[in-house]
């Protein structure tokens, strides 16, 4: 029996952090991975220490919109959330099929289009490994 094929379906912390860090350019200052309950799974960023709070709040906001879409006529699942805040912009995106969320925090200088393009690209890239793992 090949004992290693199944055990490779896990996330190496170092690699994961490095991948997330690739988005932190041109005004994007942190990229996070959050589980459906709001717990921080991984992050890469600088100049920030309220990461866990941001993770929980992002997850909450996403859940709130997820719940309200049930009342909407359009049955498409929530795809991406872009928020314009006072001191910066935030994007939240599905990551994998088990409920993990990808979050990106950027300066006001980063346009919404750019933010959306970056997070969509990152989410697509992470779909492979994240689709195979069990989150809860």
């Amino acid at each position: 029996m090949n004992g290693f094929s199944a055990i490779d379906i896990m996330l190496n912390p170092h690699d994961l952090t490095e991948i997330l860090g690739q988005a932190n350019t041109g005004g994007v200052h942190s990229t996070l991975l959050v589980n459906p309950h709001g717990a921080l799974v991984a992050f890469s960023g600088y100049g920030d220490n309220a990461v866990r709070v941001k993770a929980t709040i992002s997850s909450n906001i996403w859940s709130a919109y997820e719940h309200s879409r049930h009342n909407a006529i359009d049955d498409d699942s929530l795809h991406c959330l872009i928020m314009s805040c006072q001191t910066g912009n935030v994007a939240i995106h599905h990551a994998g099929s088990s409920g993990l969320l990808l979050c990106m925090f950027a300066d006001k200088t980063v346009g919404h289009g750019m933010l959306k393009a970056k997070i969509a690209a990152m989410a697509k890239f992470l779909n492979g490994p994240l689709n195979t793992i069990v989150v809860s």
Binding site: M1, G3, F4, A6, I7, D8, I9, M10, L11, N12, P13, H14, L16, N35, A39, L40, V41, A42, F43, R52, I133, V134, V135, S136
Partner: protein
Amino acid sequence: MKKKVLLMGNLVLNLWDCGGQEAFMENYFASQRDNIFRNVEVLIYVFDVESRELEKDMHYYQTCLEAILQNSPSAKIFCLIHKMDLVQEDQRDIVFRDREDDLVRLSKPLQCACFKTSIWDETLYKAWSSIMYQLIPNVQELETNLARFAEIINADEVLLFEKATFLVISHNERRKHKDIHRFEKISNIIKQFKLSCSKVAASFQSMEVRNNCFAAFIEVFTSNTYVMVIMSDTSIPSELTLINIRNARKHFEKLEKLDKNRLNAGRQWRV
């Protein structure tokens, strides 16, 4: 006096306490001999180092070996030279080597492994852990997989505990630790905690201990084991380690099931 303990879900450990009383010993050898010595996989014989009747002790031991040779010749034999704390510290090695030589010689053609033990230090725990380790058929495979697991999740150390006894049955150390008594200490701490959980009718499931130097996770793993993961990189969020443990569970559970299928059906491990 007899007691039964279930290990790893399907191994039955029978404990026969003769209490040093001759009547019991004679009885066991006479009327219960076949019952006790048939289908034995492991014999653990405990000697009191302070015993004044060495000849008699050896005689009973040899009688056991004869019964083993007749009924279960392929059994593994372990001898514990117990109460070593009563021997002066500088004498312990000499006394133990002496006894070990005698026992190895007397046990021929059977082979025996000897341990010096005491309830006052970690030697007893280590001896039982070593014995447990040898009872697991696919222990090498378990170790290889544990090593791979530890590497992927970037853990300092990963331990596997047997569920009922909390004996360490496998571990992988990626970063050296200077406290050699840590296994028994951890085992005792968890056992105490389990006890206090049961007093409020709650069953222990998991624990996370974290400070600025490390994070330790103790989780139910497979149906017969608990896992303990030590991470010294405290920047790694707890949830990531927990996700990894969850995902590894299925794999190790599969390993355990495979192991069970290799044992003969209905085979009882008599110890």
